[in-house]
Symmetry: C2
Subunit: 204 residues, 2 copies
Amino acid sequence: MVPVVVTTGVDGRRTGRRPATSAAELEHLALQMFTKRGFEETTVDDIARAAGIGRRTFFRYFASKNDVPWGDFDGQLEVMRASLAAATAGEPMLAVLRRAILDFNTYPPAEGDWLRRRMTLILRTPALQAHSTLRYASWRGVIAEFVARRAGQPVDALAPQAVAATHLGVSVAAYEQWLRAEGADLVALLDEALGLLATGFQAI
Amino acid sequence: MVPVVVTTGVDGRRTGRRPATSAAELEHLALQMFTKRGFEETTVDDIARAAGIGRRTFFRYFASKNDVPWGDFDGQLEVMRASLAAATAGEPMLAVLRRAILDFNTYPPAEGDWLRRRMTLILRTPALQAHSTLRYASWRGVIAEFVARRAGQPVDALAPQAVAATHLGVSVAAYEQWLRAEGADLVALLDEALGLLATGFQAI
DNA sequence: GACATTAGTGGCACTCGGTGTCGAAAGTGA
DNA sequence: TCACTTTCGACACCGAGTGCCACTAATGTC
């Protein structure tokens, strides 16, 4: 597996040639190009050329072109995992999940614009839509892990997997709603969607 | 878009050269090869050679290698759409959905083996997992359409999309469960999963 | 039987994403 | 200066997918 190194450049590097760029910088550049010319229309060669690096080097920063818009998804995921693990046993399971998911999707206002750009790409570009399934798998894993622990069931049992899959489903639905409405509040939409789910869609 | 012709060979063809094979025949052959050697390890060239057709011709039967294991998914989808449309207004929405989904996944016993083979490929091969999102989109569309009509909301509103996404989620979770247990009853698992969803996971 | 017509075939060349290899570049410390 | 380490990037290669186009094989007509 390719590591997808998040070269921060802030580390106390000891030796060896310095990286020519960083994943964050590359992502920033690529996202601009994707937004301007379209995802399919922008080749990896284009990005590498624009970044002044070799095509081969691009693939040392990202495992695939599809992975570019995901930022530090795995890092964020670890935060959510920790948050779920820290929940007190008294708090109801769905309540914990709800809070964790809202937290996971709470971004500083300054990042709102990039989030919108990233999610527009991911949710509206077929190739990225498809690829998202693979990234979402680890998200589902974190949820399922938590539910399984709570319910005393195996992670791969029906209930934990069903909870994870449905929570992912409503989250994505909320994101799509958010993208459609210009000034919408993402967290409010997520909360509404999770509410529908928790009540078995009685409100409809 | 490539039409993905389902050449039955039973039609009263009038004129022109006859197709060298059929999508069903090609799918059958390809699935055997995928199961034996693996999906990634089997190239389109391999399949075409084994089928005695040109590589170019393969892509007239299937829009992509990823589309091979999907059989007549779109046709089945139309049946479900019709079934939903035919539901009486009195029957509760979730009950209609539940029945339609169970029907959609009820196969003649003879096809059970192929279904398992197909779903194993789709759910366990990363490339096919990813691609499935694109095929599932139309499935979700059919559900959302029905819910929207019932609820008097736009198809792209939050509630219809959330209902569709969650029903897809639990269905896939049930399928994964079915694949894991050798002699499991798919319809029973789907029913159980849909039950969990309808009750807001109170049983957990 | 020669003919147009029609539908399907398949070879060719090309683009693009992705990978393995390997030598060169650019840092570090001794 | 030299050894060591890390990253870079050129090159060659593979496989999916596409546009193009001539060819094949079927039908019906004069």
